[in-house]
Point group: C2
Chain length 209, copies 2
């Protein structure tokens, strides 16, 4: 547990969402965008949340669209770093798979849940050019997943196409933001283990654990 905290501290808090005026604007915007959606959130809402006038926002961001883009860029950077840290910590494929799942669940229902919801649900509010930019950033994140799943497949632990499996995992994981209760009886770790078994099946006669 001390080690897990160490990893978290090494990654640091979400860059650009610190105590600076810009950071406080992004945090407030992320929460509002998740709660009300990008279109139903006005710049006046965001301004009120951080205690300034609506016009003052445009000294920090050129347009409202830029705020949305910045939220998405920051959360992808942060979570890619976390996923990379999980890979570094767990070289063994099966342990790595579980670590990746834990990391993704933590992104979605843990510390970056607001911004992750925004990433999924406000996707089409981005201009096509910026959708491409975000996709390019996501590609790094996705490659870590595909490498892991491909290794499992080569070891005979996975039968199906890694790309299909990755997409099914994405669906399972991203949907948790609609139902998972972090104060409920099901822990994040237990849920991660259930999902692991959905990917590689029951541990049959491969020995312990």
């Amino acid at each position: 547990m001390a080690q897990a905290e160490k990893v978290e501290t090494a990654v640091g808090s979400v860059h650009g969402m610190d105590d600076s005026p810009r950071g406080k604007l992004l945090s407030a915007a992320a929460r509002l965008f998740r709660d009300k959606g990008f279109d139903r959130t006005t710049v006046r809402d965001i301004a009120r949340e951080v205690g300034i006038q609506s016009g003052s926002i445009f000294h920090h961001f050129p347009t409202k669209d830029d705020i949305l883009f910045a939220v998405m860029v920051e959360v992808i950077r942060f979570n890619t770093a976390r996923l990379q840290a999980a890979c570094d910590q767990y070289p063994e494929p099966l342990a790595r798979l579980e670590a990746l799942i834990r990391a993704e669940l933590k992104s979605i229902i843990g510390d970056t849940s607001e911004a992750m919801s925004v990433l999924v649900y406000e996707w089409r509010c981005l201009s096509p050019e910026r959708q491409q930019e975000v996709l390019a950033m996501r590609a790094v994140y996705e490659q870590l997943w595909i490498d892991c799943l491909e290794t499992l497949r080569q070891q005979g632990l996975l039968e199906d196409d890694p790309f299909v499996i990755r997409r099914l995992i994405t669906g399972m994981a991203s949907w948790t933001n609609t139902w998972f209760d972090e104060h409920g009886s099901l822990s994040l770790e237990a849920l991660a283990h259930i999902i692991v078994r959905r990917v590689i099946g029951e541990p049959r006669d491969t020995g312990g654990v």
Copy 2:
């Protein structure tokens, strides 16, 4: 295949999305809401799509919100009927599970994909009262799923909590609308089978298939 078509015809096309003015409005609205989102779709957009003036819309629906609500109600009614038909056709639990998955996939990436996307992504655009109404309608649909999964659990084919498994299936299925290509090499039936194995695991020594 003739039987499958018969089921489809028995269910009929989506009620209230026929050739009537109201039906054409709902179809156009569903597609626009999916493509641009509810908030970015103006009543002028919808009107242009069906070739009338924007004001004329309000002879068919009291408000724009009512259009969104109607789209959701119609698609839930239609897909609940399809799920019920699948249950009626397959009494055996394992075959029924696969039929339910096929039905849900067809809802999401097949004939009602526009309206299903709207149901998922424009959820928060509904007023709280209407969210409750829609949830009450969904409850019937969900109960068919829970009954099936509970039976599988009693037969020892499923280890985990049916509610958790149902939510994981919902996630896998609803996410397919972002990636599944109906003209690609992976068929809906093959995908359904992959998902079945994610639920009940590999067929080990239970005999055939």
